[in-house]
Subunit: 397 residues, 2 copies
C-alpha cells in the first residue's frame, strides 16, 4: 500500500509532444522574438467568440439574478439549455432527440470520459481509427477498458474496412470516430459512414449486444466547402452517442461546455442515459458550468466567424502543395496533415525548427511519417511563414 | 461483454434522499402554493455572489480580449490565478505554498475525485467520519478504493478517536475531514485537529508510508462566531491536500471552480502534484472554467454577505432549542443537525411533511436518528416556518 497511484503520476509527468513543442516555442520566442517564430503546434481557437455570446454573459452577470445564474442546475444540465439543444439538433438533422436525451458536460474530454465510463466494463475494448487524438488512449484506459487501433487508410484517410473487420470482436464495446478529424482535417464521407454503420449493425446482431458508436464532434461546424450539414450519425445508427463541445465552434475552449446526446431510437436508451448520469456523478462533474449553460442558449448551432480559418487553410494548403509537400485535402477542423519528406517525422520536425517552424510529428496520433500543422493562427503569421516552408522542402531536394 | 456499466447505471437511477425531498417539494408547491411549503432540503447558496465578481465577469466578457479570456489555460490552471490563491493562503495561514502546489479544479467534487484517483490504488481504504457527505462513497469507489466509516461521536460531533484507531490500518491510504461539516455545521476544534494529526503522523511512521489527509473545505469561510481563521491543516500535518471550492463562499456553486492545494512540506510533494495532474487528465477535466478562473482573482479569500446565514442560524437554532428540539450548536456551514424525536428519522421526516416541513433524514450521511436542516433559505421563510416546527414537536408530547 506504500505507493500513490503510479499510473496517474506518470500521466502527470509525461508531457505531450504538442505541449512540448509549444513550450519550446515560448522559450525560442524569448531568444529571437515572437515575430520570428512560426508556431503551428496548438489546436487553440484563434478567433473571438461571437459577440452575441459575450453580450449574453455580460447581461447575465448584470441581471441581478445571481442565485439563479450561478446556482446548480440539475446534474444533467439546465432544462432550457437541453431543450434548446434538442430543438437545434432536430431542426438541423431531424434526429428526434428530446431534452431528456441530452446530458450537459464540461467539454469534449468530459463527454468522452463520461460516455466511456458509462458504457464499458474492465476488459472491454474500444476501437479508434488512426490517426487519432492521443488523449483517447488516456480516456479509454481511465475507464478500465483497452484501446484497439485500426491503422490509417493513408490514401484518403477514410476507414480501412478490411483492417477494421479484423479488429472488431465480441470484446468491442464501442467505436470512436472523429469527423472532421484531428489531426487530418478530413471529413468522413457519407459512403464511409453508411458502410461503417452497416458493419456495426451486422456485428451487434452477430454478437447479440450493441457495439456503441461514439462520435466526437467538436469540429462539426468547422467545414469550409459546403453549406450542407455533415451527416448526423444518429440518422444512420441507433446505438450512437454524440459527444459534442462548444469549444471550437464558439471559440470558448477554456469555458468547458459540451454535451452528450444519446440517440432516442437506441433500444436501451433510458439505461444508457442513466449510466451517463451515473458516470458523470462518479467522475465528480456534478453539473456543467451554469453561467455558460445559460449564456450559450442564443448561439446554439451558430459559430464564430470561421471564414478566417477557411482563408488560412486555402493559403497554406495551396502554397504547401505548390512547393511540393504532399497533403490530403482537409475539408474541416483547423489542421493540415502533411507527409514528412523524410521517413522519420520527428527528424523532419527538428529540421523544421531550423527554419523556426514548429510542427507536431504524427507518431503520437498513431500514424507515423506525417506532421500536423494547426492553422488556427493569424493569417499574417501564415503569410510570413511561407518562405520558411519553401526553404524547408528545398533543403530535401 | 453484453452489458453497459451496471454500477454507473445504478448510480444514475438512484436518487439521493436530498434530491427526492426537493422534488417532492416542487410537486407539493404546485398543489398548495410555494408560500405554504417550508423546504429545508437543499444546500444551494441563497445569497447573491459578490457584486465585485459579477462586475469582473461582465468586464472580462466586454474586454475585447476574447481569445485570452475564453482560451485554454494550462491544465493545472491559469498562472495568475494560482499565484493569487497561493498568496492568499500564505497571507492568511503562512502555509508556504507556491503557485506550483495549486491545481485548479471544476469545484469540490472534482477536487475530491482527482485527489482520490491520484492517491489510491485498488484495494486501498479511505476513512471518513460519520456523519459525512454521501457522495464521498461514490467518489472513493469510483477511484477503485473502499470507504471505511468511523461512527459518529454523538456528544459534540468531533472525532471518536477510539473508534478511529480501530479503523485505521496499513490499507488506509487517506482520511477525509470536512470542517465546517455537512451535515452537522460543526467545526473541528484545534484540540481535535492536533490529536488527529499526531495520530496520522504516528501511523504513517509505523506503516512506513504516508496516510494522506484530504480536507474538504467548501465551507471554510462560512463561520459565524469568530473573526479568527479556522486552523489550516497544512500547518499541522505535512501530508495534507486541501480540497477547496469557491461554490459556497462566493455563492457560485454552478460555475464549478475550486482547487487542490498540495502541502509544500510533503516529502513527495512533486510526485503527488504530478499524480493530481495525471488524474485530472485521466478523468477528463483538461482545465477549470477559464473565464471564472480569471474572474475570481479580485475576490479570492472574500465571501458573499454571509451575515444572512448567521441571522438564519440564530433564529432557527434559538427557536428550535426553545421548542425542545435537541441540536448540536453549529459554528459554520449552513446546516442544523437535529435529533429526531422518534428513533426513525425517516418516519420523523414523513411526519414533518404533514406540517409542510421538508427535512432530510440523516441515514444517508452514515448516522441514523437525525435530520439535516439547510438554512440557506430566506429569513422570511424561516420565520414563517417556526409555528410549523413548534406544532411538529408538540405532536410528540
Amino acid at each position: 500500500m506504500a505507493d500513490i497511484n503510479k499510473n496517474m503520476e506518470a500521466l502527470g509527468k509525461v508531457r505531450s509532444v504538442i505541449r512540448e513543442t509549444f513550450e519550446y516555442g515560448n522559450r525560442r520566442a524569448k531568444e529571437i522574438g515572437r515575430e520570428n517564430i512560426f508556431d503551428f503546434s496548438l489546436g487553440n481557437p484563434s478567433i473571438p467568440a461571437p459577440q452575441e455570446l459575450e453580450d449574453e454573459i455580460a447581461r447575465l452577470a448584470g441581471s441581478g439574478n445571481s442565485v439563479a445564474v450561478h446556482g446548480y442546475t440539475s446534474a444533467q444540465g439546465a432544462e432550457a439549455t437541453r431543450a434548446a439543444i434538442a430543438d437545434n439538433i432536430n431542426k438541423r438533422f431531424g434526429a428526434g432527440v428530446t431534452k431528456d436525451d441530452i446530458y450537459m458536460t464540461c467539454g469534449a474530454a468530459a463527454s468522452l470520459t463520461i460516455s466511456l465510463k458509462a458504457l464499458t466494463n474492465p476488459g472491454d475494448e474500444v476501437i479508434v481509427f488512426a490517426p487519432f487524438f492521443p488523449e483517447y488512449k488516456v480516456f479509454v484506459n481511465a475507464a478500465g477498458a483497452e484501446l484497439a487501433v485500426v491503422p490509417a487508410e493513408k490514401k484518403s484517410f477514410q476507414i480501412d474496412f478490411e483492417a477494421f473487420e479484423k479488429r472488431i470482436t465480441r470484446k468491442t464495446k464501442a467505436v470512436i470516430i472523429n469527423t472532421p478529424n484531428n489531426p487530418t482535417g478530413v471529413v468522413l464521407s457519407e459512403e464511409t459512414i453508411i458502410k461503417l454503420c452497416a458493419l456495426l449493425k451486422q456485428k451487434s446482431e452477430e454478437y447479440g449486444s450493441p457495439v456503441y458508436l461514439l462520435t466526437d464532434e467538436p469540429y462539426r461546424e468547422l467545414v469550409y466547402d459546403t453549406e450542407k450539414e455533415l451527416p448526423y450519425l444518429m440518422n444512420y445508427y441507433d446505438n450512437t452517442l454524440v459527444c459534442y463541445s462548444f469549444s471550437k465552434s464558439l471559440s470558448v475552449p477554456g469555458d468547458r461546455l459540451g454535451y452528450i446526446a444519446v440517440c432516442n431510437k437506441m433500444k436501451d436508451n433510458r439505461d444508457v442515459y442513466a449510466a451517463v448520469c451515473g458516470a458523470g456523478r462518479a467522475l465528480g462533474f456534478v453539473c456543467a458550468p451554469s453561467l455558460m449553460q445559460k449564456a450559450v442558449i442564443p448561439v446554439i448551432g451558430k459559430t464564430s466567424d470561421i471564414s478566417i480559418y477557411k482563408k488560412n487553410r486555402d493559403i497554406l494548403y495551396n502554397a504547401l502543395t505548390e512547393y511540393g509537400y504532399e497533403c490530403v485535402y482537409p475539408d474541416g477542423a483547423f489542421y493540415l496533415f502533411v507527409k514528412s519528406p523524410e521517413e522519420d517525422a520527428n527528424a523532419f520536425c527538428e529540421k523544421a525548427k531550423e527554419f523556426e517552424l514548429l510542427l507536431v510529428a504524427s507518431d503520437s496520433f498513431g500514424c507515423e511519417g506525417y506532421v500536423r500543422i494547426s492553422y488556427c493562427v493569424t493569417t499574417e503569421m501564415i503569410e510570413r511563414s511561407l518562405p520558411a516552408f519553401k526553404k524547408l522542402i528545398e533543403s530535401y531536394e
